[in-house]
Amino acid sequence: MSNTSTIAGRQFRSYFNGAAAYIVISIVMLALGILFWKTFFLYGKSTTREMFRWLSLILVFAAPAISMGLLAEEKRTGTIELLITMPVKDSEVILGKYIGVMGLYVVLLLLTLPYPFSVSSLGHLDWGTVISGYVGLFLWGGAMLAIGLMASSFTDNQLVAFFIGLAINFSLWLIGPMLQLLPAEFASIFQWLSFDFHFERMQRGVIAVRDVIYFLSIVAIGLSVAFRSLESRRWS
């Protein structure tokens, strides 16, 4: 466990040692600012619903961007070899990397806190939906970052990892808006696969166990595939 936290700590700090974290945070905040405030006063409602909606869409792009280098960059530079030849389990490497990137994600979420606060200063805000919205966003982001880590384990090229992650995230997101066009008999399956379907309820203030399980299973699948993929280097 201590290896996991050491790896997580190093990963987290490495984001802030370089420009990566600052660039991603700036772009996300800028995009969110433009998209949110552009329509906020048109609706004239004191709700953060739009913020969560936009943020989740932005994260479809941002999550692969911050997770693409997790393993791909270590493979490209060869540092993975030094890391893995220390007395550390492959599972600790994967988990440490994941916790490290989740740390950056939490920072990103914290930076959006001014939104609900400023909205609440303009009118009555239902804080219940804000909390459940953040829980949902945390889970959704966690799922997308696990997918990103998995993508990063497949290649030593960050750009390839980015597009693999983006493609998977975007597909899972796209199912929501596209649902009406899909064959009706499969609709419920597709609906269950969709990010949006599970996030929707949380936006409305409902935290259902099945939605939590949905996101956690994606995390579990992403991490175990990444683990297998890292382990496969020994036998290839």
């Binding site: 201590s2 290896n3 190093r10 490495s14 030094l82 890391l83 007395p87 280097r233 290839s236």
Partner: protein, 369 residues
Amino acid sequence: MTEVMIEARHLTKRYGDVKALDDVSFEVKKGEVLGFLGPNGAGKTTTMKILTCFIAPTQGTAKVNGVDIFEDSLAVRSAIGYLPESTPLYTEMMVTEYLDFVARMRGFRGEDARKRIAKVVDQTALGAVFGKEIRALSKGYRQRVGIAQALIHEPPLLILDEPLSGLDPNQAAEVRQLITHLGKERTVILSTHNLAEVQTTCSRVLIIANGKLVADDTPEELRDRAGKPRVIATFVAEGAELEKVRKVLAGIPGVAEVKRIDGGGTEAEYALTARGSDDLRPMVFRAAAKNELNLVGLEQRGENLEDVFRDLTMADAPETAKKTTSDEKKSSEPEKQKTSDAAPAKDTTSDTEDEKPADADKSDDESAA
């Protein structure tokens, strides 16, 4: 505790159809400094990756410090300090942060970690760059950071993959000195393709080519294989004069063979091998003076390990593991030989190093005294 640090048994590694390692077995005793020698792609790095548990062999196994790599890979890794090829480090970190990270990964905390870091910084003379980012360091310093991280847990076994490549002569000398020093207290394996390196640093040499072990010698034995030292004499001569030079050289008493070894131009270089143990240089000088030849250079060159290396590593290459480059080399050599045979009177000289053996052989046949 056993006296054997590494026991590799029938290691074979296949990457698809290519055999990177083919049934390699060897032992390394405690306290040995072992040089792993071989051309690029021979299997040195693969062997090291297997020993450090980064990859698993397709067949065979190895024991490090008495522990099987398959049975307890964590214990094996704890016993090893490893520096992979080209020194991959987290370059965005400062030296101090990085060593701190490595110490934590090796399970050291607080005061213990600080003491160990201070010790390796002292051993590798990193004090001056302690607070600098690794990306700002010279190659020599990076190499020392790489060695420092391998030493933090005071491992009984150090595995260094090409620790001296890419360093300038001064840096290389410093790192070599460090390795020699470290080798006094522990077992060290280092890979290189620099033969002189092996002679100065190692107590034993394994030569590996195309995935197979082709030699397991001490540097002294290797030197014996290499034969006697040679004298290299350089003349300014052209045309008919070249023949005269050759005749004069071949006529010197004590000269066993004369080989033309240079690459053309107006300067002609000849390598002379002595029959006995005499130094040929005074005799070459006198012979040149007597016959009014333009002798412009004369030196005794150490054991020609390069030739031994070439013989061992190019000789019986198995068809399966051969790379395209060596294929090309193989096919170009007989061709060269043919043209040389066709025009024996001319002093054909080659442009590239790779083609030299063919040429040298030819001159050899022609002029062996």
